[in-house]
């Protein structure tokens, strides 16, 4: 099965130390209400009453028209980066569906790959997309809020 890839620890650690986000702004600090604030590093729900950061993140290596920027949450304190075990973590099965999109190696959307899928169908749908050799990676986003969740990489 394809692999689920969380944000790199080095990036998240830098934000925690106050490093600027994709807009050049320092991360915002908030307190989680425990509902729907998912950390993109540990891929768990941020518990109620716990501090978290809101930053603008660009989950692409290069600056080009398709390099979307948008808000993500991460735990304000240290957390263990999600280790892929071939399954979706429980916090990523909380929404009824997600948007997944396939990208080519040049980081551009491969039009026609975007689809809204239920959590239990997500990894299978990504695997089907990877049957096309031009698909380099898949992004998971909120189907309702757009927000970037995680990347899916070829097995």
């Amino acid at each position: 099965m394809p692999r689920l890839t969380a944000l790199p620890t080095a990036l998240v650690t830098a934000w925690r130390a106050g490093a600027p986000d994709a807009h050049g702004l320092p991360p915002e600090r908030h307190v989680s209400d425990g509902t729907g604030n998912r950390c993109r590093h540990c891929l768990r729900l941020i518990p109620e009453g716990t501090d978290f950061l809101i930053v603008a993140h660009r989950p692409f290596d290069h600056l080009h028209a398709y390099a979307e920027v948008g808000p993500v949450f991460v735990c304000a304190d240290d957390c263990a980066r999600h280790a892929d075990d071939g399954r979706l973590p429980p916090a990523m099965t909380s929404a009824p569906d997600y948007l997944i999109k396939g990208y080519a190696a040049d980081e551009r959307i491969v039009y026609g790959t975007g689809q809204i899928v239920a959590p239990d169908a997500m990894l299978g749908a990504a695997e089907a997309l990877f049957a096309d050799p031009q698909i380099a990676f898949v992004h998971i986003r909120s189907a309702r809020n757009n927000c970037y969740q995680a990347r899916i990489d070829r097995a």
């Binding site: 807009h23 398709y66 808000p71 975007g114 909120s142």
Partner: protein
Amino acid sequence: MIRYTALPTDQVDAYRRGGPDAFGNAPERAVSDGQGNPCRHCLREVPAGARMLILAHKPFVGTHPYAEVGPIFLCADACQAGGGIEVPEVLTTSPDYLIKGYGPDDRIVYGTGAVIPAPDIAARAALLLAQPGVAYLHVRSARNNCYQLRIDPVA
């Protein structure tokens, strides 16, 4: 009453002159295949064979984590500004669209985002704009995320 709001003509003209996009890059030039290339100024499909621009756009005035940036298309040549109270062509070419409400602080009003069948957009928009705390709406592609237009209340 609701109003569909296109990108301002002065901003579009700046992009046509090669002015920088949200990342400081000059807009890319491409030729439309006439399928799924909506112009965010005239709010019509860029006709097959016509030249278009692809660029990263931030449809927000300020810069903060929720100020999303992503790709849009524009007619490369002059076109008539779209928008108004009639449903524009670009909201009739897909079966559904993602609609999200924003507060006066330009942040997502969580709970407002939903994928809505195209014929139901006007009714959904009127409902959301009647909700306290919702200042305006963004319409995006349900499958590709791309920003389409803003919906504003008409006083």
